[in-house]
């Protein structure tokens, strides 16, 4: 398995390389001058040129790419165009933990709710329960995420006052776990709903697949109770494809954070990205895009490893 893991890791390297090329390429397609936004229209022309010179905006594209990549490999993402003098890595390190926390918690919620639902749906195939779960999942897929978020804020935060309207913690209050959880519940829930629906559908079909397998018949023929058959023999097998699905869902999960963080004022990289996008802060946009893609690659890597842990058939 070690060799399998090492191979997966090595495989990720060219992927990351391609990711940087694509990100950089996109940025360079931008027609506008990034300095336009931040410049006082009354700036002296010499100053503008000096400024562009100082930020290397006039160099050859390849030179810019190599410089950027080289710096990035050393953890130096450069500096924000807007927030002069602030290393982007500072911005990222301040924001990333929030995003990761949100994602971990919401994926946990998604798992906790949707996998059992999917399993129930599969074992009670074509029953009323199955139809209800299916319908609700479809509803979940079809409802715009941000809409759920806004409604929840209006109802639970503004009208009922049960939850804060946003942010990671109450400002100025001393740190408390409860306070953090209190702030986390709504955004995590909304982020979870988006993928919960899909995950329920996937775990249903994965479980249905498993329940059709011969070894399930074997277990039944051995006289095991239905619940034993489903959980001991079915569940783990059903879980394996879901792990892969989870890896595949990661991009949409991280993508969803853009919206959720915007709605809930959650200071993660998604919000940073939106801010940067509106300000055309290219170095920040690039950095976040690369980080987000890297997160996906790393997440997939973890999924692969998890896969190998759960599935003894993976040995090489």
């Amino acid at each position: 398995m070690a060799s399998y893991i090492v191979r997966r890791i090595l495989y990720a390297i060219p992927l990351l390389f391609l990711i940087t090329i694509i990100s950089f390429g996109m940025m360079k397609m931008a027609p506008g001058d990034p300095t336009a936004l931040m410049m006082d229209p009354m700036i002296k022309k010499e100053n503008l040129v000096a400024y562009q010179e100082a930020y290397g905006l006039n160099d050859n594209v390849l030179v810019q790419y190599v410089r950027w990549l080289g710096n990035m490999v050393q953890g130096n993402f450069g500096e924000s165009l807007i927030r002069q003098g602030v290393p982007i890595s500072d911005l990222i390190t301040a924001r990333l933990p929030n995003t990761l926390l949100l994602m971990l918690v919401s994926s946990f919620i998604a798992f906790l709710i949707s996998i059992p639902l999917g399993v129930i749906s599969a074992t009670k195939r074509n029953s009323l329960t199955d139809y209800s779960i299916t319908f609700v999942s479809f509803l979940g897929i079809a409802t715009p995420n941000f809409w759920i978020g806004l409604v929840l804020i209006m109802v639970f935060s503004v009208n009922l006052g049960w939850f804060p309207t946003g942010g990671v913690s109450t400002l100025g209050e001393p740190f408390s776990i409860w306070d953090r959880i209190h702030h986390l519940i709504l955004p995590a829930l909304v982020l979870a709903t988006a993928d919960m629906a899909g995950l329920t559908r996937y775990s249903r079909s994965s479980m249905l697949d498993v329940l059709r397998q011969d070894y399930i018949r074997t277990a039944k023929a051995n006289g095991f109770k239905n619940s034993t058959v489903i959980f001991k023999h079915g569940f783990r097998n059903g879980l394996i494809p879901i792990i892969t699905i989870l890896g595949l869902m990661l991009p949409s999960f991280i993508g969803g954070s853009v919206i959720i963080e915007s709605i809930f004022a959650w200071p993660g990289i998604g919000l940073l990205f939106v801010e940067a996008a509106f300000q055309r802060d290219y170095p920040v946009i690039m950095a976040v895009v690369v980080i987000a893609a890297t997160l996906v690659v790393v997440g997939n890597l973890l999924a692969d490893i998890l896969y190998a842990v759960f599935d003894p058939r993976i040995e090489y």
Partner: protein
């Protein structure tokens, strides 16, 4: 001339008697039967039919010019004058919904058509020829897929300005990866299917094998993913609209109609305004999903009941 040994076969007249052959079903009819047995899929198809129909006939169905503003009537509730109320500029919501359907569906269909095309070509090439080409193409797909799509969409939309054409292009350019993987998978498995081998041994040309033998059999999953993809694009456009990066007003799309209702004032005071575009998005995406699900079952040879 008579064939030698034909006598051998004359004692088999019953071979093809009707009770031996299953009722003369075309594949399409079999699929239709499977499809019709999925209630939700049938409902979805009916809904889509209505939605697409009303989009096509919007100019005849719309009670008013969708861009006609009566500022004094802004945020009128549903009633006689405005069946579904009026928006924040006093425009008729129903008319805008109908015209918005055209835009939302156009974006959905056009961008999915584009991404299906790109994805199919790349997936087919990778899957059929395999080897190094496949490896390179798939690495590229992996890399593109690693970008959370919303990040890509936002980046590109901010770079290129969110016009109708850019949105379609951006959705198409980054929506193809799923199809590419899917098509590649189909090609890989169909490439070694016995009927393809048979076609090769018969000297059928590669191009014909790809199109007539492999692609026609991979069409099912492609259509399914396209169906689901349209729903996805409509949702994504709405999400972009939320950030103000979707289809730009005054062209009405359901996404930007919903977006202009993102305002506590509206949400509390004029609930009908965000309700209807939201509902249309929901229903349409739901319908596409139902249809996709039904098609998936219909195309799946494994599921026979």
């Amino acid at each position: 001339m008579t064939l030698p040994n034909q006598v051998e076969f004359t004692n088999r007249p019953t071979l093809l008697e009707d009770h031996q052959l299953q009722p003369h079903d075309s594949i399409w009819r079999v699929m239709l039967r499977k499809y019709m047995s999925n209630k939700l899929a049938v409902i979805g198809a009916i809904l889509l039919f209505i939605i697409i129909g009303s989009a096509l006939f919007a100019p005849w169905l719309a009670p008013q010019d969708p861009s006609k503003q009566v500022l004094l009537d802004k945020l009128s509730p549903p009633g006689d004058k405005y069946i579904l109320g009026a928006d924040n500029l006093g425009r008729d919501t129903l008319s805008r919904l109908l015209y918005g359907a055209r835009v939302s569906l156009l974006v959905g269909f056009a961008s999915v058509a584009g991404s299906i095309f790109i994805g199919t070509v790349i997936g087919a090439v990778a899957g059929y020829y395999g080897g190094k080409l496949d490896a390179v193409l798939m690495r590229f797909v992996d890399a593109v897929i690693s970008f959370p799509s919303l990040f890509l969409l936002i980046t590109l939309v901010t770079i290129f300005e969110p016009s109708l054409m850019t949105l379609i292009a951006v959705f198409a350019i980054f929506g193809w990866t799923g199809t590419a993987r899917l098509v590649r998978g189909e090609f890989l498995s169909l490439r070694s299917a016995e009927f393809v081998l048979a076609a090769r041994t018969l000297g059928i040309r590669n191009s014909r094998i790809i199109f007539s033998h492999i692609l026609s059999n991979a069409m099912g999953p492609i259509i399914v993913s396209a169906t689901l993809g349209i729903g996805g694009v409509i949702l994504a456009e709405a999400a972009l609209s939320y950030l103000g990066l979707g289809i730009q007003p005054p062209i009405p799309s359901w996404g930007n109609m919903l977006q202009s209702a993102q305002n506590p004032q509206v949400m509390l005071g004029a609930w009908w305004y965000p309700l209807f575009p939201g509902f249309m998005i929901l229903i349409t995406v739901l319908a596409f999903n139902f249809v996709g699900d039904g098609l998936r079952d219909a195309f799946d040879p494994k599921i026979n009941d």
